[in-house]
Symmetry: none
Subunit: 133 residues, 4 copies
């Protein structure tokens, strides 16, 4: 898995790592069961503090994206959010509401948003929808 971060960006480094891993999973670059680089290894690669990597992995485990197995390393789970349905729904709403509001203030029109959404959807490998449920 290739993880790249921009040390000059305003976003905290550990969040950049978290987002990079999530992006890799979403794009299909990494799959369930894959092993993440060790904390020390990734810290060296990215030239950042190991504590920063630890914090990123903690956040990823909290979000259910990885599991940390003592001594063995960190592994990608089959993306599973263990949130209740109502909470999941609310999170999507919050994300989209924020995006739409900010885009409005940037002067975009509905069509711009729909186009941007479709472009980003194209880059993500969604799983086969489970017929019902």
């Amino acid at each position: 898995m290739i993880i790249r971060i921009d040390p000059t960006a305003a976003e905290p480094l550990f969040e950049q790592v978290v987002f990079a891993v999530k992006t890799a999973v979403a794009r299909g670059t990494a799959k369930a069961g894959d092993r993440l680089p060790s904390v020390r290894e990734l810290a060296r690669e990215l030239a950042i503090n190991p504590n920063t990597v630890v914090r990123a992995y903690e956040a990823l485990e909290r979000d259910g994206v990885i599991v940390r197995r003592q001594g063995a390393g960190c592994f990608l789970t089959g993306r599973g959010s263990d949130l209740a349905g109502s909470e999941r729904r609310k999170q999507l709403q919050d994300l989209m509401r924020r995006t739409v509001t900010e885009a409005f203030h940037l002067g975009f029109q509905p069509e711009d948003l729909r186009k941007a959404l479709d472009q980003n959807l194209d880059q993500v490998q969604f799983p086969e929808p489970r017929s019902q449920s």
Copy 2:
């Protein structure tokens, strides 16, 4: 203008205020020229420190949403963003990429995102697209 915040939320108080104002503008609840509550007034209403409101209003002015006029008050501008086209474009991409990635990890499908987008677009009063100018 009604502004509500949640003091228990993780999001900083001043950012909650910023977003509340932006939402009000986007929904058409507040229009260009409208005056915002005074710093002291809003601070009292929300039971927060006046300086926190000041920071929120500063951020809103930075984003071109309001102007602050000493002695007179703070007013909605109605102007859009002053950013260059390339920067605007990049910001929309970042917003949408983040939303799509997070939604993927929450287990949503493309259709869920399209539906959520449309629902949120319905609540926003977009300006008439200017054909020329």
Copy 3:
């Protein structure tokens, strides 16, 4: 980077800091990637309150001159302004109109202004104009 301020001047302290940093960048005394003094350090040096430095750094970040990175420090970007062309143009006009008008009332002649402009241009390290890109 040497930053000096005059506590007796009418100009707000944080604006003096902002201008001092911008001047250092313009003169080539400080370059992209350079780290600014930490908030506490500069506050101690200038014998002002840390919050005043924070306000200055916030303004510099708003203007795209620096990025502030939590836990790491503040760094010069080297990026230019993100403003749209029309807004950039307007700001230059406003600056120059103000200068010409005030100089007129100070009794200067056009030649004095041209000379003053050239003298100041000499002290600034302008980037190579990019022919393409």
Copy 4:
């Protein structure tokens, strides 16, 4: 003399009035000896508080642009700054240094500044230069 102000601008109203008068003088729209509108009259015209006009006229008198004669009104002087030579010089330098520095950070090149200066000089009616002195 036509004086117009923009109540939505960030610049304080009284400063806008001051600058409008100075601009009128510089452009030759108003000449030495001309009488300014009375405080009440201008306040009514601009729909602003009379105290704001009073403050503007005080500032103009302080700058030597007008004289206020009890009972008779305010009159334009033949633009005369009573500053010492060194102080005059310093003020021009400060104005130009500020303009050049800000323009640099807006991404302009020396040629842009020279052009902007010449454009603004063209609109100002400079007096015949006194041969020596």
